[in-house]
Symmetry: C2
Subunit: 193 residues, 2 copies
């Protein structure tokens, strides 16, 4: 397939689209972030890049804490809205009637309707340009009981999560293509690709 | 839904699963990364977190360059294999008969079978623990002609990309849930959620 050469741009896709909660002076805000990543396994760390002009930037910089909530595909409209409207103009959590649960290791609450929440503490803030990157440690995780089996294994495939790809939201409700390591399992040998 | 409280871990999902190519002394290697992100829009920047013991760590640290190739769902087995086997033991590109295209702004080639490639230059390496984060600028992008319309718009939804969620690969081949901004478009007012 012939290619078109274009100048450098943010074309990495697909990406997570998560709801991030933070609190300052008793006000809880939520915003949607896609410029977010796992950056280290041990210790478990994530990065979130935020524009300095956003309300959440100010709130998270002041508190040094936030919570990442993983939305299901049913929350796609909420995710979209929380990415285009500011907490300065509308109380987004109230607007959608979302329920909050108290944080365990951080003051920022988590969103009950999201099946997985990651409580994070900021370790460093790196200015990069339009966005500043918050390097953070995941200090606590909360997972819906229904996703955890008797052996403690988490069944993310039941969660119907969503992702973001170049301006569109997609559901992960379908069957997986395969499991990590399936390409080297015995029964698959000889029919890679 | 009641939650189970667990210690902090890398549970951010879903994530990209991309094929990263690099070159050193004429040998081109490829490995799969999910600990990867867009971290800034202007300038366009990405981060890739790599374990120091991996061959690609050594190669990218030495060259200061790499290319991120976005795989389609048809390449899921390749993506899986390139995440579990090392270039020290097997020439993964040759094994799968993948075709390479010369880099434009970097020496590392891109994978022809991937519809989008991002050429990157390393700006900084931050040791975090099990992984070190390569903060990098996207200096050039290449996109399949078939994905670009007459107006220059890129149709990622035609690319059938894939993502990674907690040990499983998913296809984005289905219809999108919505487009960015759809929650605030006039016709949707009053029926958010």
């Amino acid at each position: 397939m012939p290619k078109v050469a274009l100048k450098g741009s943010a074309l990495l896709n697909p990406l997570p689209a998560v709801l991030i909660t933070s609190v300052k002076d008793g006000f809880v805000n939520v915003f949607t972030a896609a410029w977010v990543a796992t950056i280290c396994t041990k210790p478990p760390m994530v990065s979130v890049s935020i524009r300095p002009e956003r309300l959440s930037y100010e709130m998270i910089k002041a508190s040094g804490e936030f919570t990442i909530n993983l939305p299901t595909d049913k929350l796609a409209r909420v995710v979209d809205f929380c990415g285009v409207r500011s907490g300065r103009d509308v109380d987004k959590l109230k607007k959608f009637g979302l329920s909050l649960e108290e944080g365990i290791s951080v003051d920022s609450p988590s969103i009950k309707e999201c099946p997985v929440s990651l409580e994070c503490k900021v370790k460093d803030i790196i200015p990069l340009g339009s966005h500043h990157m918050f390097i953070s440690e995941v200090v606590q995780v909360k997972v819906d009981k229904e996703l955890v089996d008797d052996k403690g294994k988490i069944h993310f495939e039941k969660a119907k999560l969503m992702c973001y790809s170049h301006g569109e939201y997609f559901s992960l409700a379908g069957s997986p293509l395969g499991k990590f390591g399936y390409s080297v399992q015995k029964r698959n040998r000889g029919k890679i690709l």
